[in-house]
Symmetry: C2
Subunit: 307 residues, 2 copies
């Protein structure tokens, strides 16, 4: 992972580690919400793309994502002067499509109901010779995300006792688990979408049931984790917690009070901690706030509703 750190040095922002409360506090927020592009995704995308050989670069990269991974890949590709195509659902939020296009990526739309994004992306990759960049099921992507964990230890001057990490597919949590082998790792997921928690409990991958409730945590609505991410977290002895939608809104409001914009999915670890779902520990607890890409109107509604 030291190589990943070297690759992203000067590219990704070294995001701040902010104390929650006054001096002497052992509770910290790792504000990946302040990362370039508004989420941690640039770390993994850049670490993957930078390793593509010169002969394959002209054919570029392809990824599927309706959100933060799309922007991470698009930005990394622009930085490395490679073309990028992102497969996005036709009903993706216009703000996210526009942000991805503004980074110079081509957009391929698909119909969520009738087409498979995996099949479209695989077809493009084969046809063009482009490299498919998975959002979490990839060693280089996971190691790139893990650089956030290396920074935490640097910034604290020691490994924290515990890190609580928002978890969709598990790329960030797995990366941090690899970066901080002596810290307890806790994954945090939205209510009803806690498939990583259930998988860790049962010792085998469990999918999100088809009747899972809706959630504002759009960045975390992955239906299945991967062998890679699950394996790393199981190996690390990680466990999982979940937070309700109301607890997520309370966490967004708490972060607002600290001066941070955090999107719903990015606030789920803070939500679980604020809701008292984790026992106290001796030593430092680091809460990762993983993104800030929230629609302004939705953010405004959250502020008004909880006022």
């Amino acid at each position: 992972m030291e190589k990943a750190r070297t690759r992203i040095s000067g590219v990704a922002t070294r995001t701040p580690l902010l104390a929650v409360g006054e001096g002497g506090s052992r509770i910290w927020i790792k504000a990946e919400s302040l990362q370039l592009g508004g989420a941690f995704k640039l770390r993994g995308a850049y670490n993957r793309l930078a390793q593509i050989g010169a002969e394959r670069r002209p054919a570029g990269v392809v990824a599927f994502s309706s959100g933060n991974h799309a922007q991470g890949v698009a930005r990394a590709a622009r930085m490395l002067d490679m073309p990028a195509l992102i497969v996005m659902p036709a009903d993706a939020p216009e703000v996210k499509v526009a942000a991805t296009r503004a980074l110079g990526a081509g957009i391929v739309s698909y119909d969520r109901a009738r087409e498979s994004r995996e099949a479209i992306a695989a077809h493009i990759a084969e046809e063009r010779g482009a490299v498919l960049v998975p959002s979490f099921d990839d060693v280089d992507v996971i190691e790139g995300q893990g650089t956030a964990g290396l920074e935490i230890a640097d910034q604290l001057g020691r490994a924290p006792a515990r890190v609580i990490v928002p978890c969709g597919g598990g790329g960030l949590a797995a990366g941090i688990a690899l970066a901080l082998p002596n810290s307890a790792i806790v994954t945090a997921e939205p209510e009803g979408w806690d498939d990583m928690a259930r998988s860790l409990d049962s010792g085998a991958i469990v999918e999100v049931p088809a009747d899972a409730p809706p959630s504002a945590c759009d960045a975390l609505l992955s239906r299945r984790v991967s062998d890679l991410t699950f394996g790393a977290l199981r190996e690390a002895g990680a466990r999982g917690v979940w937070a309700s939608e109301a607890e997520v809104r309370a966490a967004m409001r708490f972060a607002f009070g600290m001066g941070l914009v955090v999107e719903p999915g990015g606030a789920v670890a803070l939500a679980a901690w604020l809701a008292g779902k984790l026992p106290e520990v001796e030593g430092d607890t680091v809460i990762v706030c993983s993104g800030s890409n929230v629609d302004p109107v939705a953010f405004a509604a959250m502020l008004r509703d909880s006022a």
Copy 2:
């Protein structure tokens, strides 16, 4: 100022210096909006209060402010185990009164129309033997605020070419000017409230006219700068710019897109820069975002209106 830095070390947050844009950018935001208490004020208040001798501490401190200085003094007093009384207008926003009270300070209300807060505070100070803590007209307060400037040079590894600083009474700008004698200092004020700019232009202190327009920048609505702050900035060769209310809202929206909550007054330097009111320079430009204490409903309205 090194002594001030030592005093506030481990007390005030070392706030992040965030690049605006990708690696190689020479534009930076010093996010004092992420300071403990949501504004830079703790720096100056703590630096002043920490120098009060043991024999005067039991009588405590008194300050007048309807906003960020109130919270800075209240927090510093709590940290140093001193009583604090804050003179606040009876019509101050309930959220700011509550925040100040939550920090353990006593609140003395006054009627803005009929009473003088200066007279009330002076009376309390005399009667109790309490120390009056000015919000900007004080060498120790100014030096405390200036520690933000020392941090900027540390974080950059060099002095920036230019720093743009929100300016009310001028304490933060004067402190940064003293901390960074080789940097160009630019003060930023709301439209119609640019008395520091006019004072620097004319070479003598000019007050804000009685018919100045309303402004959302509540933290910057000081009608007169002081000999100390004006003197330090004139000596530094500073100049001033202003930003309109619409430009301030655009800057708040820009900061939101970066993941930062910034209050109107805290965004005025960013507003002036975004609006193109400053020439390009070689080297680094640091824009100070000085606070995040904004009413959630007002922030929501800003997001909706500019959506």
